[in-house]
């Protein structure tokens, strides 16, 4: 069996308050093989970004804590590493692409200087070797004039070009895993397609594993083979994209899919939404978190927590899957 590029085992993130723990991510496990892309989808506030931050060991703010049985990159556990040892891993073995390319680049340095710094920090080399790596990285995300981009300041580039530069920066050390946190949300549709194409190219060329975080199922289906649906800090369904679209098993996934507006020549159906609201994180129900909004809810669902139950490699955390 292949060693997965990224393996997360029982990861939890919580917020400590005086009156107890507020769970943000609740015991999630998954793995991504080299060269695969897996989508992590869910509504805002479901814990997607916190999952990414916890994997990188970068939880913002005081009072937040995370624990995991293991977080492995190519079989090497990074969950217990010291801050110093972790800094050697960040950017070299695992890299991140951020949502806002406008603000994720330092405005006072050129793109080239910033990518140089990442390469020099982790792999080193002479000035010309470092710059060559930077130009190669910019070249590999599809810039034909890599040198012009390298000498440009972030504000001189468009949003799409900045995001491609961010991807080049993430890829310059050829990491095993790239976490892309909503990398296309701030971009228009045609730019989005371009970014997704470049990510796909890089993924197949370097056998990079990608964890693609998004709330947009259509974007996820363009780049990912597998998809995980997250709700209130728990994975409620993990499956491949095709099966999700053709036959979602968890009622929440089905609800998400029905929220995508359909264009047809028939009289338009009213745009549907999932009734109710995400439960307050400080007062989560004891049973299935989705129970209150679910039309298939039974008394049993309100009391005990459904486990991810696998059937032909497809998992759904539901007592009454569709």
């Amino acid at each position: 069996m292949k060693v997965p590029a990224l393996k997360v085992d029982d990861l939890s993130v919580w917020f400590d308050t005086g009156s107890g723990r507020i769970p943000i991510v609740d015991g999630i496990s998954f793995s991504i093989n080299p060269g695969d892309a897996t989508g992590l989808v869910g509504e805002s506030g479901s814990g997607k970004t916190m999952t990414a931050n916890a994997i990188l060991g970068l939880l913002p703010g005081a009072g937040m804590a995370a624990s995991a049985n293991a977080i492995e990159i190519n079989g090497k556990d990074i969950s217990g590493l010291s801050a110093t040892a972790m800094r050697a891993v960040l950017g070299r073995d695992i890299a991140m692409v951020f949502q806002q390319p406008a603000t994720a680049l330092d405005p006072v340095f050129t793109i080239g200087q910033q990518i140089d710094a990442v390469y020099r920090r982790h792999l080193g080399g002479s000035k010309s070797e470092v710059r060559q790596a930077t130009l190669d990285a910019l070249d590999s995300v599809g810039f034909s004039q890599a040198e012009d981009i390298a000498s440009a300041y972030p504000h001189q580039l468009s949003g799409g070009m900045r995001q491609l530069s961010m991807i080049a920066m993430a890829m310059v050390c050829k990491p095993a895993v790239v976490i892309a946190d909503e990398p296309t949300t701030a971009l228009d549709n045609s730019t989005r397609t371009l970014i997704l194409q470049q990510l796909k190219n890089l993924q197949s060329r370097h056998q990079t594993a990608i964890l693609f975080i998004s709330h947009d199922l259509s974007v996820v289906s363009q780049i990912c083979r597998d998809v995980m649906v997250m709700y209130c800090g728990r994975l409620v369904e993990t499956t491949d994209c095709e099966s999700l679209f053709s036959h979602a098993r968890h009622p929440y996934s089905a609800g998400l899919l029905s929220c995508i507006p359909q264009i047809s020549d028939k009289r338009p159906a009213p745009i549907s939404s999932i009734p109710g609201q995400i439960p307050n994180a400080t007062a989560l129900p004891p049973g299935c978190h989705f129970a209150a909004r679910c039309n298939r809810c039974e008394p049993h669902c309100l009391e005990s927590v459904p486990k991810l139950d696998f059937e032909n490699g497809r998992g759904a955390a539901c007592f009454r899957p569709l």
Binding site: L56, R87, L90, M96, A104, P107, V108
Partner: protein, 279 residues
């Protein structure tokens, strides 16, 4: 400074006037330092209180020293004090402000704020006099007094700016590529305050020159050499006797240089204010 900033500065006539004035004075100072101008500032080359004339353009003083030579030499003194104080207090202020802002609300921040509060609460001229007395006539007493009091303003501004910048996404991105915290502060946070440091630097420069004049006037300033402040101090006795040479020469030079610096500082602030133009 990038290209756009320079373009904006160039199209501002007040700013360019200021820049040219400062450049001319700087050139004079450089000539004095390299021994081409103002070397005869302490020689008695004429009679007592000569008026304006061909041999002494601004006349002479009590000892028959040429006032033009002394004014030119005073330019170098002004720049020497201004540059030393500005560079030292800006470096000190940005490091202290940077640390305070980066560790905001931590013990280091508390210490720095406390130190700043103590220094700010001492009346400045009293403090300068105390330092001058403690160092018993050292030529650096005045510089030191200014540096240890002037850094606090820079530090306060930088602290706030660092607290703002450290929440931005590129700082998180720097963490995500494994850059240690304090290195991130020096590599990515402080460089983003350069526009503030540059403007604040010109303000400190003006304050330093001003303060040098006042301290020299009070006898706490320049010990070795001549400065506009010393000339003004001399003139306070002379104007009663109708001798205006020292007063007009040093006062005019001081006024023009400070005016030029203020114009430049204003224009720099406008030219580098990128708020609103960043998307």
């Amino acid at each position: 400074m990038n290209h756009d900033t320079w373009q904006r500065l160039k199209s501002d006539p007040y700013g360019m006037t200021g820049l040219i004035v400062v450049a001319v004075f700087l050139l004079i100072a450089i000539f004095v330092w390299s021994g081409l101008l103002g070397q005869g500032w302490s020689d008695s080359t004429g009679g007592q209180y000569e008026g304006i004339g061909a041999s002494h353009w601004f006349g002479t003083n009590l000892l028959g020293q040429d006032i033009l030579q002394r004014t030119l030499f005073g330019t170098a003194t002004a720049f020497e004090v201004g540059l030393t104080v500005t560079i030292c207090s800006t470096v000190l202020g940005s490091i202290m402000g940077g640390l305070a802002g980066w560790y905001a609300h931590g013990w280091l921040d508390e210490m720095i704020l406390w130190l700043k509060g103590v220094l700010d609460s001492i009346p400045f001229y009293l403090f300068a006099a105390a330092v001058a007395f403690a160092l018993q006539g050292s030529p650096w007493a005045m510089h030191l007094a200014m540096i240890v009091t002037f850094w606090t303003t820079t530090a306060r501004i930088i602290r706030g700016e660092v607290m703002r910048i450290k929440e931005r996404e590129f700082i998180e991105a720097a963490r995500a590529i494994g850059l240690p915290g304090l290195k991130t502060m020096f590599r990515h946070v402080l460089p983003n305050t350069y526009h503030i440091l540059l403007v604040q630097g010109t303000i400190v420069f003006v304050a330093a020159i001003n303060t040098e004049v006042i301290l020299s006037f009070l006898g706490l300033g320049i010990k070795d050499g001549v400065s506009w402040g010393l000339m003004l101090a001399e003139s306070s006795q002379e104007v009663l006797g109708g001798h205006f040479g020292n007063f007009i020469a040093s006062g005019t030079a001081l006024f023009i240089l400070l005016m030029g610096f203020n114009l430049l500082a204003d224009a720099l602030q406008d030219a580098m204010d990128t708020r609103g133009s960043l998307t």
